[in-house]
Symmetry: C2
Subunit: 154 residues, 2 copies
């Protein structure tokens, strides 16, 4: 089974979370005009601490053999290297409903709490990402493994 | 009055907040070895919502004529363009105690709640930053203006 990546847009991604990008509709001028603030592009969900981490993603096969979700908090990924990358999400933990999104290097995403997604997928180079997610007690990871992996066509 | 920027280190910046950088001491391997997580480099402080925004900083004179602080929440800045940038903080809202830090393009900072700092300072090019801060009711901005500006030597 193969799925094709589609270009990431806020509208298409809305069921899964927010796109983090410099949307002119969210722009406000601050700092006496020296800064444009693209305001509140995403909202963090958490019942515990919110932490900032860096994820260094390495090149791997573009094959989806499992999905995970974090029921207790959102998780945001923002690329730091300006390179395109890939997001795979699903409305349910089944191979048939996986959707792949090709993200530009200036687009991040914030997965809503509980959204099924594949772990970090870079394309042809390693890339660092700033990650904003929850830390605290409780089980915040569910995983499902597929009998047959899904290949992604970019 | 002129102050010289010093190189940003976690130890020197500790009184003001955290440095967000891929510190090998915080590295854990995840995602079956395809991702290194530099874990919990900073912790968000907020008594209300936590939001993600993008700040587009433009070139401006490297002169400190005011400081601000956010008493109700931390504020993190992570550069997205890989360029060096500048942070100015102070232990009190007075020109004499301002300190300037030269940050690499792979270093962000998280100001603790209530830390006096200058608004975003890029160097010779505009740059976008991911910003993680608080949103909600209440007065979360204090400002002080100096009689005589402080120049920063980089």
């Amino acid at each position: 089974m193969t799925i094709s990546a589609q270009v990431l847009t806020a509208a298409d991604f809305a069921p899964f979370g927010e796109v983090i990008a410099a949307d002119p509709a969210r722009a406000v001028e601050i700092n006496t005009g020296y800064t444009t603030r693209f305001h509140a592009l995403a909202k963090v969900e958490s019942d515990a601490d919110v932490i900032l981490s860096i994820f260094r993603g390495r090149v791997r096969p573009l094959t989806v053999a499992m999905l995970e979700r974090h029921p207790l908090g959102s998780q945001a990924f923002m690329p730091l290297g300006g390179r395109n990358w890939l997001v795979v999400v699903a409305s349910a933990p089944r191979a048939e409903v996986c959707r792949a999104f090709l993200c530009r290097g200036d687009q991040g995403v914030n997965y809503h709490a509980g959204v099924w997604h594949h772990p970090l997928l870079v394309l042809d180079h390693a890339q660092d990402f700033l990650v904003v997610d929850r830390a605290g007690e409780g089980t915040n990871l569910d995983e499902v493994f597929f009998d047959r992996p899904v290949d992604i066509r970019v």
